[in-house]
């Protein structure tokens, strides 16, 4: 019962936050200097055409009319047509979202598996050469600019060794019967490898260091000392007792990481010419494509807020000490 009230009140808060986000998004793009019509400026562009475009885009309406129309449409899941490609916005996003999710989730999972294990190892081997070499390596890969690592990866593995293609998600001219067939194909995996590893290399720093710190804290606690006194093997202590308890902050970070990954990664997508949402989004903002930018940011906000919510729920499952009662 208490949990139900908790969930309901959180849902209410979430909706309110989303309304605020939607309003801000609506205003931000319209208040930014610039004008979506300039994409059409040409010596043969006439004022008549400009009028027609304004009408089509709904920009001839007063701001509050535009705002309420926007809210009405959002509730119905309609985001209108892109100013730029003239396609429905849902379609614009759907065209690239699967590519983005596959790339970011693959590298996120890879990074967290490596990070959790590596962090546990760093904590367990505190003071040894593993830590002396491990931490600077983790910090260096985390701090290295992604575009630089990406270009290096391209220069070595694509242009010199010729192991991987240099860009895109599929080979030139390859035809697939469906999006699923494409994502499950070897060709796609072959294209995915370099960007996914580069992104994972960047992402692993956070879980590794988080896990290590959290582990070190847990290792000082009484129940670990007690476990040692019981004569349990060190491996069991580290993995069964310490690591499980140290995972909490890492899980939160993972859930938030999923939230972030929905927006894609512009740098990786640009370096590897990956057809993802990040590039689409940047383009939409630059070209003042309000409908696409609004929809994409709103979607990111929904996922981010949702993931926060999920992380909260997970806490209570992983650690029964976390309760939802009001204190």
């Amino acid at each position: 019962m208490k949990r139900a009230t908790f969930i309901l009140s959180r849902l209410g808060q979430t909706l309110l936050v989303l309304l605020v986000v939607a309003t801000l998004l609506f205003l931000i793009f319209r208040l930014m200097p610039g004008n979506p019509l300039v994409a059409y400026l040409d010596p043969t562009f006439t004022e008549e055409m400009a009028q027609q475009l304004r009408r089509q885009f709904g920009l001839d309406q007063p701001l509050h009319t535009q705002y309420f129309a926007f809210l009405r449409n959002v509730i119905r899941g309609q985001f209108g047509n892109s100013f730029f490609t003239r396609e429905p916005v849902n379609q614009v996003i759907w065209n690239v979202l699967p590519n983005t999710l596959v790339l970011t989730l693959a590298s996120l999972i890879l990074a967290y598996i490596v990070g959790v294990l590596g962090g546990a190892l760093l904590a367990a081997r505190r003071g040894s050469w593993v830590e002396h070499w491990g931490i600077p390596t983790v910090l260096a890969t985390r701090a290295a600019p992604e575009f630089w690592v990406g270009m290096l990866a391209l220069a070595i593995f694509s242009f010199s060794l010729n192991w991987f293609p240099f860009g895109g998600a599929t080979s030139p001219g390859s035809v697939f019967p469906s999006m699923w067939a494409q994502i499950l194909s070897l060709d796609f995996l072959h294209h995915l490898a370099l960007p996914a590893f580069t992104l994972a290399l960047y992402l692993q720093g956070l879980p590794t260091l988080l896990m290590r710190n959290s582990m070190l804290e847990v290792m000082d606690e009484d129940f670990i000392t007690f476990a040692r006194m019981r004569g349990l093997p060190e491996r069991t202590i580290i993995l069964r007792h310490a690591a499980r308890n140290a995972l909490l902050p890492v899980v939160t970070a993972f859930a938030l990481g999923i939230g972030y990954s929905i927006g894609g990664n512009v740098i990786i997508e640009t370096v590897f010419s990956w057809p993802g949402l990040g590039r689409t989004l940047v383009r939409a903002v630059a070209a003042k494509d309000y409908p696409v930018a609004q929809a994409a940011f709103l979607m990111i906000a929904v996922v981010m807020i949702g993931m926060n919510f999920v992380a909260d729920l997970f806490y209570s499952l992983l650690d029964p000490r976390v309760s939802h009662e009001r204190r």
Binding site: N35, A39, R86, G168, S273, G276
Partner: protein
């Protein structure tokens, strides 16, 4: 106490000095105000930004204060276009396109006074004599006298300096010469080797039958009735035929038309080529052609409307002969209209347009799942943000030699060079990076060939003629003389550009006027010209307006 007196003395002294400076100096209202030069950010267009940074200190040598203000394109264009009284000067560019091989578009739309209010004459240039010449060249169907008028127009613009023309950049492209027969890669005047003729005629030398080329920008649409992004037009040109096409020499040549004969100065009989087919197998008829030219006259195809505005009526004389009757003589008709409009299948678009007429959207919003044209290539697939694949139509009257044409969207410029070197690309269709790097790459790889062509597009600095001091031709001429174009060419463009002095590229030999007044870089001469016109300088060296002239801004 003594300290206090000291303080008061110092303050009084400083105040007195300051007041004295104002009193003895020139009245500040004659000073030319700080001038703002707009440019796009370095990250977007490094050369434009560098040129602006280069120009500002040169102009300051004349005693004006110039501030370079960086704005994203969407903001800058919005400001220049919709706040016509507000800005001072702006960097700008016109890009090369096949139909710009005819000077009419620039001559008319950039400088004719009718486009000053809300058209492309955003500088607000007003000149009766020029207006008359720009209009006259349109109706002179006699080439020689039209040439004379275009050259006269260039002379007037060179003298009146609404723009400081900076450079005509080189369009540089490269390809793999072990894949494509160099004899069949065609260089088009003012555009370079990336053009329709190369795509149609390039002959594969090896097992690689597909042309794989790059562009750095995502496509917006593949739609014959929507003039969208630059890369989009490479695709539409290949899928849809046109009655005429701009040839490699820059002149219109019959394409889907077998021939075209002027009956009189406003009547043109076009004979359609026989045996053409749409990609869905149906024949191309005179009715399709008539439909293609009447559709934009309605309200559903706004972007093509300007190109049919001058057509009075279109008659079908026989199954193959179509008569165009113009409202008034229009010399560039073959290039500006017949080479511009895509011929579209009536059986597909008639119902679509009828349906759209009932909706707020127009033809630009309609994306065919499989675009159908009659061109030398047919549509295979379009993976958004990734690639467009076209396939050769073997029974087209000018069937391509290659099998497929694959346009990859590669936003990473450096990676596209790597791909070219290593063979994952075999035609470099877009390169915005450092030309020297490309040059070096090609020199190190014998299998690569680079072709650099002078563009019909140009870079320039535009003045707002509505605002002082730019309303004074002497001032504009002085700024022109303070522009070191040679240095811009060699430092900013590293030599990969030609110095510009006109809106017509020297690449268009027939139209370009080689005898334009030359404004050599000469700060002294520029200052002398200003002094002669009554400008003076104050003690700090700042330029003052001639006596009697005041700065009034809207």
């Amino acid at each position: 106490m003594a300290r206090n007196w000291f303080r008061i003395t110092v303050v009084t002294l400083v105040l007195a000095l300051a007041l004295g400076a104002v009193a003895t100096g020139q009245s500040p209202d004659r000073r030319v105000r700080e001038l703002i030069m707009l440019t796009r950010p370095q990250a977007v267009d490094a050369r434009e930004f560098e040129m602006a940074r280069f120009l500002a200190p040169e102009f300051e040598k004349l005693g004006v204060k110039v501030t370079v203000r960086v704005m994203p394109w969407e903001q800058m264009a919005d400001y220049v276009w919709y706040s016509r009284d507000k800005w001072d000067m702006t960097m700008w560019q016109m890009v090369g396109r096949p139909e710009r091989s005819d000077p009419d578009e620039f001559a008319m739309n950039l400088f004719h006074s009718s486009t000053a209010v809300n058209g492309y004459n955003f500088v607000g240039y007003q000149n009766r004599t020029y207006d008359n010449i720009a209009l006259a060249q349109r109706i002179k169907t006699d080439l020689k006298s039209r040439q004379q008028l275009i050259r006269e127009a260039q002379k007037i613009i060179a003298r009146d300096v609404p723009y400081v023309f900076l450079v005509f950049p080189q369009s540089t492209y490269a390809y793999n010469n072990t894949v494509w027969d160099p004899k069949t890669v065609i260089e088009q005047t003012g555009l370079g080797i990336k053009n329709f003729w190369t795509f149609d005629q390039a002959r594969p030398l090896s097992g690689q039958q597909d042309m794989i080329l790059n562009t750095n920008d995502t496509l917006q649409a593949i739609n014959p009735l929507y003039i969208s992004g630059a890369a989009d037009s490479w695709v539409t040109e290949l899928i849809w035929d046109r009655l005429f096409r701009v040839g490699a020499d820059g002149l219109p040549r019959p394409w889907a038309a077998e021939k075209a004969d002027w009956v009189d100065s406003v009547t043109l009989d076009v004979t359609l080529r026989r045996g053409m087919k749409w990609h869905d197998g149906k024949p191309v008829t005179a009715d399709d052609v008539i439909f293609s030219f009447t559709a934009p006259m309605g309200d559903e195809v706004p972007m093509y409307k300007p190109f049919v505005r001058n057509i009075d009526k279109i008659e079908k004389r026989s199954d193959t002969v179509i008569r165009f009757v113009l409202k008034e003589p229009y010399a560039p008709f073959l290039i500006a209209s017949l080479s511009k409009l895509n011929i579209i299948p009536k059986h597909i678009w008639e119902p679509v347009l009828a349906d759209l007429a009932k909706k707020p959207e127009n033809a630009e919003s309609y994306q065919e799942a499989t675009p159908i044209g009659s061109g030398p290539f047919k549509f295979v697939q379009w993976k958004k943000s990734e690639e467009v694949v076209l396939e050769a139509v073997p029974d087209h009257f000018a069937a391509p030699k290659m099998k497929r044409w694959i346009l990859r969207i590669i936003p990473n410029v450096e990676a596209s060079l790597g791909g070219l070197r290593q063979g994952q690309l075999n035609f470099l269709g877009n390169y915005s990076g450092d030309p020297e790097i490309l040059d070096k790459l090609v020199k190190e790889n014998r299998s690569l060939t680079l072709v650099s062509t002078m563009d019909v597009g140009m870079r320039f600095l535009a003045f707002n003629l509505r605002r002082p001091p730019f309303d004074d031709v002497v001032f504009r001429q002085a700024l022109n003389m303070a522009t070191n174009k040679k240095a811009i060419r060699s430092v900013v463009w590293k030599g990969y550009a030609a110095i510009a002095d006109s809106f017509v590229s020297p690449a268009l030999e027939f139209w370009y006027n080689p005898e334009l007044p030359k404004w050599e870089y000469n700060i002294r001469a520029a200052r002398d010209a200003l002094a002669k016109a009554g400008y003076t300088w104050d003690r700090e060296g700042r330029l003052l307006y001639p006596a009697g002239k005041t700065e009034t801004l809207k």
